[in-house]
Point group: C2
Chain length 309, copies 2
């Protein structure tokens, strides 16, 4: 079982899935296009959000970082006059220091990620989409922004015209990614932003093509519920990119490689429209407030894929 994952939405879903299926059966391909260099450290926000969640360390309220973390180093950096809009907790920092040092030693991100997840007791495999440098650039009405500047510093308030993934065309998928998709019983697109979380993964050479071959085994969970994104700027981005913020529009973006589409009960009326795209619609409660909903949604997906749990 392969999952394509962004940040918080994906982490929540995977938190349920790893309790419905044995975590060892799940191969997670994480977005690294929102990676950034901050204070000279290599930060991989999406990989970390998934890792911390599956390690039971995530802060459920904030959606990022480690539960109960302190911010003493960041406060001290602020007193030195550096920008501190990107919040880095003291424990969280250890991960970034470790990753940065290992990268400098010549290690690959895939191996470093394996070292981190092993140390934190994560039983699923978490793999970056690529070891190569890929960076999301957001073209807005006020100019092009680095992803974290758009997302964190400016709080995703700019009107987005388009998104590009610098380095994606020269990048190759990380070791085992294409093979995992090719050999998977099923592939799940987690409920993540289609432009900035799933989009970059699809932009890596070979991944979209590998998914197309498995189309009837690919299921996507809508990140749009009732015309709104449950988390993040997906709906806002769709509007500014002149797309209707609706589940069916996400299905349309995925229609060449997704065979099953899970949309929320509130969007039941769009099921027919999804079916007209040649995609099998599945209606379920996709709003995951607690563990009960997370597991319930995971079971719906597993049942649709007729996988033994």
């Amino acid at each position: 079982m392969v999952a394509l994952a962004g940040g918080v939405g994906a982490a929540r879903f995977l938190d349920g899935l790893t309790r419905v299926l044995a975590p060892e059966r799940i191969f997670i391909i994480g977005n690294t296009a929102d990676d950034a260099e901050i204070h000279g450290l290599h930060i991989s926000p999406d990989l970390d959000t998934v890792t911390y969640t599956l390690a039971g360390l995530a802060d459920p309220r904030r959606g990022w970082g480690i539960r109960g973390d302190s911010f003493r180093c960041l406060e001290a950096l602020g007193r030195l006059g550096t920008d501190t809009w990107f919040q880095l907790g003291d424990r969280d920092l250890a991960i970034h220091l470790f990753r940065t040092e290992r990268l400098r030693q010549g290690a690959r991100l895939i191996d470093i990620t394996a070292e981190i997840t092993a140390a934190l007791g994560v039983r699923s495999k978490i793999v970056p989409m690529s070891d190569d440098r890929i960076r999301t650039r957001i073209c807005t009405t006020t100019g092009e922004l680095e992803f974290q500047a758009y997302f964190v510093k400016r709080r995703a308030r700019d009107r987005v015209i388009s998104v590009r993934f610098e380095g994606a065309s020269e990048a190759t998928a990380a070791r085992g990614v294409i093979e995992a998709i090719a050999n998977a019983d099923a592939i799940i697109l987690c409920p993540s932003n289609p432009f900035i979380s799933i989009g970059p993964i699809l932009a890596v050479r070979g991944i979209r093509e590998a998914l197309q071959i498995k189309r009837d085994r690919v299921v996507a969970i809508s990140p749009i519920v009732g015309g709104r994104a449950l988390k993040g700027p997906a709906a806002h981005m769709m509007k500014s990119m002149r797309l209707r913020p609706a589940a069916v529009e996400v299905a349309r973006l995925y229609s060449d490689f997704v065979g099953i589409f899970v949309l929320d009960e509130i969007d039941q009326k769009q099921a027919l429209l999804v079916a007209q795209l040649g995609i099998r619609p599945v209606v379920a409660n996709t709003v995951m407030r607690g563990m009960r909903e997370k597991k319930s949604l995971a079971r719906v997906v597993v049942r649709q894929l007729e996988i033994d749990s």
Copy 2:
């Protein structure tokens, strides 16, 4: 007024001196040969010890780091399986992150140090002996060790045969260092280890020669009291290098460029031996337990140099 400074002993003395003279009058040349790369960060332990002390942030009990600092990042690094024998506090880390990032941006250590001291409200000038990379290597009976491996990891227990300063012969003094010595009313060698704190500063091209010219205005304070070092391995090193651990032996090492030598009351009998080296001996209480002793020692030095305070 110029001071040559190592770590804790120097910081203590300077803590008194900056209360006896206006701090702005003091130009401190710091040892950088015990700098190290730890977790990919550039650490400058001696510069930081002096900086933290003069900023009122030092931990008086430990002698390094910031008072009341926490170690959450270090603990988390430990859980990732990395070596954590070099203690780095969370607030302390901010300084190292800042320095490392600025170095990577191409800034010089002298300018970065100025930025840090300004941000922390230090009014004396603290300048690294050199912007170039110089590293103390300790040749011991069990082989050559990097300085921090010898000093922190192995707790300075190895028998030292000799000390060398890698890179020193190609290094140049930092901007203003030679000029500051040449123009100084007086130069003070703080009570620091002659081999690993003062030694590396003297090894930078031009510094020893500049001091020789000013010999009668150069005063050294003995780091050896009653045959023992008040802090650190100086006495132990002298013994293993077949020198008698005595104040007069330190005076002998400095005799080509030191005109005045302050030794402790307990070592009064060595005053004559110091005088026989052509150095004016000054007997005083050099053991600085509290602020009263720190200021008192500073006043002795200032009085000997006939400087208006």
